[in-house]
Structure formats: C-alpha cells, structure tokens
C-alpha cells in the first residue's frame, strides 16, 4: 500500500476496529489523508464505508484504533479536542440530513448561528454568498422538501462549506442521482475544494467519477483497506480485489452476455 509521508498527513487513521454485536464491520482500517487533498474511499455496498466515515466524524465511536487530526489524537472522551475537530470539520450526509422544518437559508445559517459568535448580519451575508455560489439564492425561502434532489444536495454542500471548514467528509454524495447530476456533484466538490482549499474525504462506489476527481483512492473490502494510492496506481494495481472492483463494468458485460447465451452465472458472492 502506498501512502503519503506521515508528517504531511492532515488525517491519519490507524487500525480502527468497529463491530456491532457479532458483526465485525471494520477490522483494522488505516487511511492516510494528506493536507489539501481529495481522498476517496471506494468499496462495495455494505463494506462499512459509511460506518468508517461516521467513526471519523465522531458519530460512531470506534472500538479501538487511533484517529489523528492535524497531528493530534482524537479521543472520543476528550470533549475539547472533539469540539475543536467539529469546528474545523464538516460532514455531508448521504441523505443530506437537512432540517426539514426550517428554510434553505436557515439551514445554511444554522452551523454559524449555533457554533460561532459572528454577528447576524455577517452570517446572513455569508449564507447568501454560499447560496449564490451554489445557484440556490432564489430558493432561499423554500423548505428542503420543496427542493429537488440535486438542489437538496447543493444545499447540504452549502451548509457544509459555509463554516469554511478545513476538512469535509462526504458520505455517498452522489447516491440516488442520475449520471449527469452525479458528474455535476463531483465537479462541484472539486471546484469548491480548489476554491476553499479544504481537505476532502469521500465515500462512494462510483468508480470512474472517483478516479477522475480524487488525488488518492482507497479500497475498503471486508473490513480492511486493501489499497491506497493515486488513481494511476489503482489502475495499474494487480491486487485481485482491486482488479475485481476496477473491472466490475467489464465483468458485468461478460455476465450479461453469458446470461443471454443461457449460461449459468454465479453472482451471489458479490451481493
């Protein structure tokens, strides 16, 4: 596994374990995230990608392992350290998690109102600017349920970046979107990552988009990280798991062709 030198790491995850009852989800996961980079964690559905991201965000507490952020260890019991992390980090939920009883503008203003002492006028200006950048200004008085899926995603992104975070965690940012909107979301992430300079960790199973948008990709499989490196290294890797994931589109074409020919194809192991 190729990783960046540890001195330059903004987020350094070592041997994180998490189990729910008898179900071991994470069995010693490592991840190295250099400062200012976009790192995408790939993996099949149900491999624990979201649980891993929630461990990073502090929503789920790992059973063991260490998460270092900007050189400091994030201890779940250290409230000050956790508060500092939350101040510098944003999380984009898979289902957006927008508060449905307040308007778009109020949603974007929420983190600034509740966590800072910035004057109300400045908060409003910053929120309107964020909405303008994401082409949502004219929808500012609408409730999340009155917006389309793509608009909700943009609104969630506006809420995530309005605090000017140093680290943004994206949980399946393109889940449920059509290919065009999927591309638009990835373009949006890269554009704002370049514009605001935050470090981004994405979790997805959209391989082509992830390879195009990321500085590094990692592959989570059966509870551990099977690969981390550049997209070029991912494409060149001979690791069987990486190859199976990378060649999944070709494999699908072959399976479909075989099924059409009436041959028996076993796909149960991949589900």
């Amino acid at each position: 596994m190729s990783t960046a030198p540890s001195s330059d790491l903004f987020l350094d995850v070592r041997a994180v374990h998490k189990r729910f009852g008898e179900n071991v989800v994470l069995a010693g996961v490592d991840l190295a995230v250099p400062h200012g980079s976009v790192v995408t964690v790939l993996g099949k559905s149900g491999t624990g990608k979201s649980v891993f991201l929630k461990c990073l965000a502090g929503i789920v507490t790992p059973d063991s392992g260490e998460i270092r952020f900007a050189g400091r260890s994030l201890d779940a019991d250290d409230a000050v350290c956790r508060a500092e992390f939350r101040r510098r980090c944003s999380y984009l939920f898979q289902n957006n998690a927008l508060l449905d009883s307040i308007t778009a503008l109020e949603n974007v203003a929420l983190p600034l109102e509740q966590t800072t002492q910035i004057p109300n006028r400045e908060i409003r200006e910053r929120c309107l600017e964020a909405l303008r950048q994401l082409d949502l200004e004219k929808h500012r008085d609408r409730y999340p349920s009155q917006l389309s899926g793509g608009m909700q995603k943009r609104l969630a992104l506006a809420r995530a970046i309005v605090t000017r975070p140093e680290l943004v965690l994206f949980d399946e940012p393109t889940a449920g979107l059509d290919p065009l909107r999927r591309n638009a979301v990835f373009e949006m992430i890269v554009k704002y990552q370049r514009q605001f300079g935050f470090t981004a960790v994405l979790v997805t199973h959209d391989l082509p988009e992830a390879l195009a948008a990321s500085d590094q990709v990692a592959l989570l499989d059966r509870g551990s990280m099977r690969f981390q490196g550049t997209p070029a290294a991912f494409n060149a890797s001979n690791d069987p798991t990486v190859r199976a994931f990378r060649d999944s589109t070709d494999a699908l074409k072959e399976s479909i062709a075989a099924l059409r020919r009436g041959e028996n194809v076993n796909t149960e192991n991949d589900l």
Partner: protein, 258 residues
C-alpha cells in the same frame, strides 16, 4: 426471577438517571443559546395556540357535565346554591391542571416525540451534532421553557371555560340564579387553591414535555423496533408515560400541599 427483577431495576435506574441528566442538560444548555427566543415562540405556538381548540372543547364539556351532575346532587339536599363552589374547587384543585396537561400531551407532546424521532431517524440530530451545535439547546430547551409558560396559561384557560360550562348547565339550562353561581365561585376559590393549581400546571408541563422529548430523542435506542416503528413506539410510550406521570404527580403534589 431475581435476575429478571435485578435486570429491570437496574435498567429503570439507568433510564431515570439518564432522563434526569437529559432534562438538566437541556436547561443548562439554554444559557447563551442564540435565537433561543425565536424557538421558544415557535414552541409556545405548538403547545399553546395549536392546543386552544382541544382545551376549549374539553374544558367546556367538563364544566357542563360538572354543572349538570352537581346541580342534581346538590338540589336533593337543598344546596343547589353551592354549585359554583363545587364546580370551581373541582376545576381549580384537580380537573383543570390534570385534564389540560393530558390534552396538551395528546396534541403537542405526541407531535414533539414523533418529530424528534423522525429527526433522529433521518440523521438531522446527527447533523446538528457533527456541526458542533448543542442539540439540547437547539431542540429541547425551547420546548421546556415554553412548557413552563404554556401549561399554567392553558390551565387557567381551561378553568375559565369550565366555570363557564358549569354556569351554562346550572343557570342557563337549569334554574340556578346567575348571581348565586358566580358569588359562590368568588367566595370558594382562595389564593392557595390558585397557587396549588399553578404549581401542578408547571410540574406537569415540565415532566410531560421532558418525557416526550426524551422518548423521541432516544427513538434510535429502542431494541424492540427500528425505523418508523421505533418512532411510533416511542410516541406511544411518551404519551402513556406522560399520562401516568401526570396522575401520579397530581396525587403526590396534592398530598404535599393539602
């Protein structure tokens, strides 16, 4: 058997402690919370304005029935003139705080538990936590503060409507002189009765809103059900527990203050 009892006693003790911490944290988190006033106003609207119709209807019919039953019973002893005393003391001391609280629990408490349960299910509460906001200050404190304001006002409103209902039964439908009814009301109700009534209203408000909020907030912790079923189970639990607590607290406060 012993193991079963021990397990459930420990679980109950843990939950009571957790509930006390939850309520205390919700009050302390209110200090310095931005735009708290706006959220309190919204909670006052939900618990107060939206519950007015049900308080009006239940208060009116309670007074009507009290007036009707009381008149016929008292008339047998030639004491129909005491109808105002009977209706007012029954309402002020017992029925108004208890029934008003039960009505608000049914209308606003169930809605609160369901709303928080859905917010928990859809990760809205997780979103607040990840952004570093105080979930207690944002979601719970305004509801508790609103309860301290709304329950006494709704109880007073219930009492007034109930007295009007008693008057309609006794003096409009039946034959009691209006002056006799209202002067009996005026003479019967003492400041101590009003104080007891308001103390009950405040205690019921605090307990029921905290119970409803606690159950909705912790909907995800239910082991017996998940998703929408967990929300529905938490809402049911919130309403049932709140109703029982209202009656138990009523007995306890009455015992202490009588």
């Amino acid at each position: 058997m012993l193991r079963f009892l021990g397990k459930h006693t420990l679980a109950t003790a843990y939950e009571l402690g957790d509930f006390a911490l939850f309520t205390g944290r919700s009050f302390s988190a209110a200090v310095g919370s931005r735009k708290l006033g706006r959220r309190v106003v919204r909670a006052v609207y939900e618990q107060g304005v939206r519950c007015v119709p049900v308080i009006l209807i239940v208060g009116l019919f309670t007074g009507l029935v009290l007036g009707l039953q009381g008149y016929y019973v008292l008339n047998k002893f030639g004491s129909a003139g005491l109808l105002g005393t009977l209706v007012s003391l029954t309402l002020v001391r017992e029925l108004a705080p208890v029934l008003a609280a039960l009505m608000i629990v049914g209308q606003a408490g169930s809605a609160l538990a369901a709303e928080l349960g859905i917010q928990r299910n859809s990760e809205q509460i997780d979103a607040l936590e990840t952004m570093g906001a105080s979930v207690h200050a944002y979601l719970i404190s305004p509801r508790l503060i609103a309860a301290l304001l709304v329950f006494p006002i709704q109880t007073a409103f219930f009492t007034l409507i109930g007295l009007l209902g008693g008057f309609l039964s006794g003096s409009v439908v039946l034959a009691l002189q209006p002056g006799v009814y209202w002067s009996a009301v005026y003479r019967a109700v003492q400041p101590q009765d009003v104080r007891e009534c308001l103390i009950k209203a405040v205690v019921f408000g605090l307990l029921t809103v905290a119970i409803c909020a606690y159950n909705g907030f912790n909907a995800h912790r239910r082991k017996s059900s998940t998703g929408a079923r967990a929300v529905s189970a938490s809402t049911t639990r919130a309403v049932v527990f709140s109703s029982i607590i209202v009656l138990a607290a009523d007995y306890a406060i009455t015992s202490l203050l009588v």
